[in-house]
């Protein structure tokens, strides 16, 4: 037996090294994993990742009791607020019976900028994208641990560099701030 005289042996070696070379230097690749992680709390990981489903988790990370209304139906005029996560992270109540309040003519997103706490995306429909922007807004000067957040439709604009893609922006606004900036929440 002389392995080195076998052409099949050399074909095997050359091809496998060719594949490894192509994998390493020709085809695109990315980092297999990352370093320097110090976060192991599930709640914090979700908050840091700006996950499309993360809104219920972020709100319960900051407040002891959270009630949310005017979410609507994500397949119609509303936006996604996952019921499994509402249960797991103990959002106190979610009212989906009413669509988000349209405040486009009342207040601009820029006016709310000062109070903005968290910007993420959410599932929605009706536009040209199945994703919408979602901004979580509350006033840090108010220390109340119990909060009610109201869903608002704040913007419906064409995204720059998106080829004419129209993306809605929803806001979950603390009801105390709503009262200060827009009016009586109970009127909606």
């Amino acid at each position: 037996m002389n392995t080195l005289k076998s052409w099949r042996f050399w074909v095997l070696n050359v091809v496998v090294f060719g594949i490894a070379f192509a994998n390493l230097f020709v085809l695109s690749h990315s980092q297999p994993f990352f370093g320097h992680n110090k976060t192991f709390s599930v709640n914090r990981i979700i908050e840091h990742s700006t996950w499309v489903e993360g809104a219920p988790v972020v709100l319960t990370n900051h407040f002891s009791q959270v009630d949310v209304n005017h979410i609507g139906d994500r397949f119609k005029n509303g936006f996604g607020f996952e019921s499994e996560l509402v249960g797991i992270f103990k959002v106190h109540s979610v009212d989906r019976s009413k669509d988000p309040i349209d405040v486009r003519s009342k207040i601009s997103l820029k006016q709310l900028e000062h109070y903005r706490h968290y910007v993420t995306t959410t599932h929605c429909s009706g536009g040209t994208s199945k994703y919408c922007n979602l901004v979580l807004i509350w006033d840090v000067r108010n220390s109340a641990p119990y909060r009610t957040f109201m869903g608002l439709l704040s913007d419906d604009s064409v995204l720059p560099d998106s080829g004419g893609k129209k993306v809605k922006t929803f806001v979950l606004l603390d009801s105390n701030l709503f009262r200060t900036l827009i009016g009586d929440p109970s009127a909606y």
Binding site: M1, N2, T3, L4, K5, S6, R8, F9, V11, L12, N13, V15, V16, F17, I19, A20, F21, A22, N23, L24, L27, S28, H29, S30, Q31, P32, F33, F34, G35, H36, N37, K38, F40, S41, V42, N43, I45, I46, S49, W51, V52, E53, G54, V57, E82, S83, E84, L85, G87, I88, F89, K90
Partner: protein, 474 residues
Amino acid sequence: MLTEFAVLLLIALGGTAIAWQLGIRNLWLSLPAGLMISVVLRDVLFATLNMVNLRWMSAFMFFGILALGLVVSAWQSAKGLFKNLLLSATTAILAVTSTRVIGLQGVPHGDSLWILSFARLFDVNGNISYLNGHTAIKRGFSYPLLLSLGPTHEYLSGITPYIFGALCAGVIWVVSKLTIDAARKRVFWVGMLLLAGTFSTVMPLRAIFYINGHTLTAVGLLIAAGASAIAIRDYELTRENLFVICLGVFTASTSRVEGIVLAALVVLSLISQRWIRRSAILWIVGSGTFGLSIWLATYHSYIIHATHLPWFAFMAILIGLGMLPAVKWLDWLRFHIVTVALIAMAVVVVGAELVFRDALAKGNRALVANLVFGSGRWGIFVALIVFGLLLGRLRRLTPEHKTLFVITVSLILGSLITKMLDGGQFGHPTLGRTGWSDSLNRMWLQSFAIFLVTVLVGLVQNDRIWGKVDNSKG
């Protein structure tokens, strides 16, 4: 950090010690077997105590049983056990060090965050009825349960690299058993080549820290496939092999929703053997149906609700149906089930491609982009497998190589079909999208170790590669 070191060490040592008590003595097998024993214990304890609303006790009982297994084994101070414990402990320490000390973490992904959310629910003993929807059932049972064993409100970060370590040990066990008569130099050389071809791509490395049930499923499938091939080669299913096949089938069936289908494909060759005992068939199939049914029952799954049956009736029917392959008057089908399954799957794939040509066109393009042009971060791993299979022994296949070959083809067809079915829930079947996070692209993580073992065995057994006239058994 210390809590995590303690927890993972207990899982590693306790599982290995119990495996030893149950007769699993091989060094490399002890690591995956110990892990799978931990999976079974954790799942069964959680599901049982959930029925009486004592979920909070399940983790204590789990650790108690592992500790008991360890103490009993240490008391007996059996010869050889120390080596197995040392391997498990070293792997556990390396795993926790990599995540907690060095700070390595997997790539962020929405599915990982869902799984962590479920782990959080288990951690705080929350209401399991929240898990009755489509999302929960797709994210698995065993893996989030293991993740939830971390420090309070944190996940057990070291378990993911530990599972990958168990997969590597499983590969070494299967290869060492299936190439026992081959020259060590051949095995070593081919092993090195395949390592270079595999770990020059991103996805196998990504599996080390990526939070998802794929790698745990891979451990179950690999061990079941390897033990099946060994049994078919030896015309004998030893107690040890039967036990690890059952553990593998249970683990795969509770880790991913498609796991039970893939596990069934893996053990089909063994079940179709004329010499296999009917009791062994019952144990193997029962491991899968029992695992899946306790998972569905615990999650209050919509699948059970759709049948309008109480959970125990659903469980009894599922387990009962799983006993059919052992029925004598179905032997005519059982003996030919591998051929029947392969033809049926090929017909389904080809038929779907013809009937849903337009719907599948985008998915086909994505599949090629992912596996050939690097978008799926697999490099040209597919070329390595195809080339390896073609250059390997193709004539007069040995029983073990033939078994692995059939399993490989079955897993490829099975993965394509399960993806089509998954996509079909939302309309026409699909074959996914371009990018590493596509579910079919990630599904290959569950079977790539089996593909590699198949290639390795074929290459090692082809004497022509090694300059020798083919005169080995066939």
